[in-house]
């Protein structure tokens, strides 16, 4: 087994645990590279099926290419797609910095969706290498009644035994991609021929490395127009992946506060 085989086997194991242990399970699909890989892994785990709803928490500020991608592949992959719109920015915590407030809309949209459908488990495609606060996550991560993350007192998790049972009114976040890196994702996309939004590939000397809302995401300088070129670029770069995400670095603890409140 090579490194990608190991990552795939581990993610499949996690998804199967989640499906077996959690009653009301849903998967977040942001249409980005990580969530596309995650949907793909679910089809690996369940032999071509995705046996739970796939949710897009829509800020309505995504790029048009992303909406086209959503409509096409929800159908092609046979997904049970749920689209829920986010509340306006006025509903978010006013003490957060402006770009973080914009991102916090997704937290509120997710919270409302969980309440509406009664989800007890949400599968999210975060990775440890994206951001140092995410590096501290568990694979099965309990959330309080308001969706909050008590990062100061996380339960132990080892030998692939996950904490899968939880009190009523709370939910679990499940992170099958936690051990993957950005480079792993692209190598897997290449190996498995997984479709991707075209914004990831360079046009006019620029491409998106990470896809968020149009107004708080900016492209990076790049000539990479194929997956192989993206992989070569990532192997050489020293620029962090989320450099184009404005909300992460407004203040020292902006991202930590977002996540503690339930951001994915």
């Amino acid at each position: 087994m090579d490194h990608l085989d190991q990552l795939e086997a581990q993610s499949v194991y996690i998804l199967r645990e989640a499906f077996n242990r959690i009653d009301k399970l849903g998967m977040l699909w942001s249409l980005g590279k990580d969530s596309n890989v995650m949907v793909w892994l679910a089809r690996k785990a369940f032999f071509g099926h995705v046996p739970f709803p796939v949710m897009h928490i829509d800020t309505e500020r995504k790029f048009p290419e992303m909406y086209l991608f959503r409509e096409r592949y929800a159908k092609e992959w046979g997904l049970n797609l749920i689209v829920e719109k986010c509340p306006p920015v006025e509903a978010t915590d006013p003490t957060l910095p402006p770009n973080a407030r914009s991102a916090a809309r997704k937290t509120l949209g997710l919270r409302d969706t969980i309440a509406k459908y009664g989800f007890t488990g949400i599968i999210a495609g975060i990775r440890r290498d994206e951001e140092s606060v995410r590096a501290k996550e568990r694979v099965f991560s309990p959330r309080g009644e308001s969706g909050a993350w008590d990062f100061r007192d996380q339960p132990p998790e080892f030998w692939d035994y996950f904490n899968t049972d939880l009190p009523a009114g709370t939910h679990l976040r499940v992170h099958p991609l936690l051990s993957w890196t950005e480079l792993d994702i692209w190598k897997y996309v290449q190996r498995e021929h997984i479709p991707m939004v075209e914004l990831y590939f360079a046009k006019g000397g620029k491409r998106y490395r990470s896809l968020g809302d149009q107004d708080i995401t900016s492209p990076v300088v790049s000539e990479a127009i194929t997956i192989a070129e993206i992989i070569a670029e990532l192997e050489a770069t020293r620029e962090p992946e989320r450099a184009g995400r404005a909300m992460d670095r407004e203040t020292e603890d902006a991202f930590e506060r977002l996540r503690a409140a339930g951001y994915m």
Binding site: F47, R152, D165, A228, P240, E252
Partner: protein, 625 residues
Amino acid sequence: MSSAERDLMRIVIVGHVDHGKSTLVGRLFHDTGSLPDGKFEAIKAMCERRGMPFEWAFLMDAFQSERDQGITIDTAQIWFKTALRDYTIIDAPGHREFIKNMITGASSAEAALMLIDAGQGIQQQSRLHAFLLNLLGVKQIVVLVNKMDLVDFSEARFAEIAREYSSYLGSLGIKASYIIPLAARDGDNIATKSARTPWYPGPTLIEALDSFTPAAPLAALPLRLPIQDIYKFDDRRILAGRVVSGRFKVGDTLLFSPSNKTAKVASIEGWSAPEAHDAEAGQSVGVTLDEQLFIERGEMASHVDTAPIETNAFKAKLFWLAKKPLKLGENYRLRLQTRDVNVVVESIVCIYDAESFSARPSEIVERNDIAEVILRSTALLALDGVEANPKTGRFVLSDGRNILAGGTIALEGYPDQRRMVTVRSANITDVAHGVTAAQRTLRNGHPGGVLWLTGLSGAGKSTIAMAVEQELFRRGFHVFVLDGDNVRRGLSANLGFAPEDRAENIRRIGEVATLFAESGQIVITAFISPYRTDRQRARQAAEATATTVFHEIYIKADLATCEGRDPKGLYQKARAGEIAEFTGISAPYEPPLKPELVVDTEKLSIADAVACVVSYVESRFRKPG
């Protein structure tokens, strides 16, 4: 693909709080050129805001509270490269309060770096972390004697710590691969050899790391495939699970434990993957079988001739992580791979002292204690000793919600019960007897039954059995004693004294005693019969006939008393190590939970003890009037 074939190794950094773990991580990054752009500047800005000198620890300490308090709370991971391969570094908190996070981080590591402050020397967490690494199964260890700058790079001080710590590791059965003098803050002996330690001939940290081998694949061990789920999304009935060790191929016969069913692998299923004919350790697979077995999550598939052990009791070494202490007699959920069963803590053998790590007795196990306990489940478990299989020899305990503890399994002294629960003969039909049990009772004046004496060697079983037999015979009962002398010479002549053989011996005695009882006799058996499960099976055999009754009689005397009596000198031999697996000394005795009768030979004379059993028989076997 330039780096597709590069290895990845996961290493954990552990050690006492403040011995420099997070600083080392920062320095490793910097010195191997792995730091992302802007990170150095971001850390510098954070430190300036706090009016403090540059702090490498901020690279891993992502929580504001970690940076403000200057301690690592939760484990984090970060990646760096050497010329040879990629590494994931897991930073584990050193503070005793955050042991659960240290374990979370360290459990997946293939190698560990243990930091010891050259000034402070070996501290409590330096010892505890090594003890835990051993339980977690991390075998490759580099000891780093850090902050050598604070002791003027003294060779004598380095040698002193190296000697003392090596001897401690030796007592745990660990040998450090390397011991390296370090000044992490300045980078001495990390990526380049330090001019300040000319007396040190060994490798740098990077050289040491690159010399390690990735975790050995478990494909060479016997097959273990815990069933995770059964899917029927379409017309296929797929058993899903991850192969934790070994390998198998289409056409192999799989044995499912503990249900003891077998079937052949018809296909290995996959989606968007090349057709597979075999699978090996590490792979998440789906299989279909050639016949429809009723199999549930929690069954363990193996090959027939290399099956896991089946038992419902075992000894475990565990680390307890919950705030609420572990208590004797308490029930927990035991999770072993995908199996989830109730267990009770039958005894707490010892706990390891937090300072000296010597064993001492205790009634409870508190948070962060390491203990040896005996666990018993109501259902049979399929498992292995941890030395035989690291995946099926480990388990966790939970309260049905959170993980409370992790542990490793030791099977010395516990028999494999698989043989006992398998009926191998086919084509057996019950034939009605011409003489009924009622007719026999009428002729004999009493029904048949089993008096099952159990107790330690030297408790008085044989003496009492023989005297009771004489007295009952005198009173007109049809009675016979089965003991070691008449059983071991014939019926069990082919058995030794290993746990499996002892269990089989007791099984045979249980079956023979049942036949005697069915014939109308009162059978007295006088065997130590140390395992509760074995006695339970004998009871089931007797009571399955519906006409015979089983009476468990506990001949009670504690170990010290029996050892004091030592009529055959066996205890003395066992203590001298001349008898292996001797009950009470090197193998467990499980006293009855609800015996029909207790005869306490510490308090009663032999004559009184005999009278007690005889009057019990009179009251149970004679019809009133």
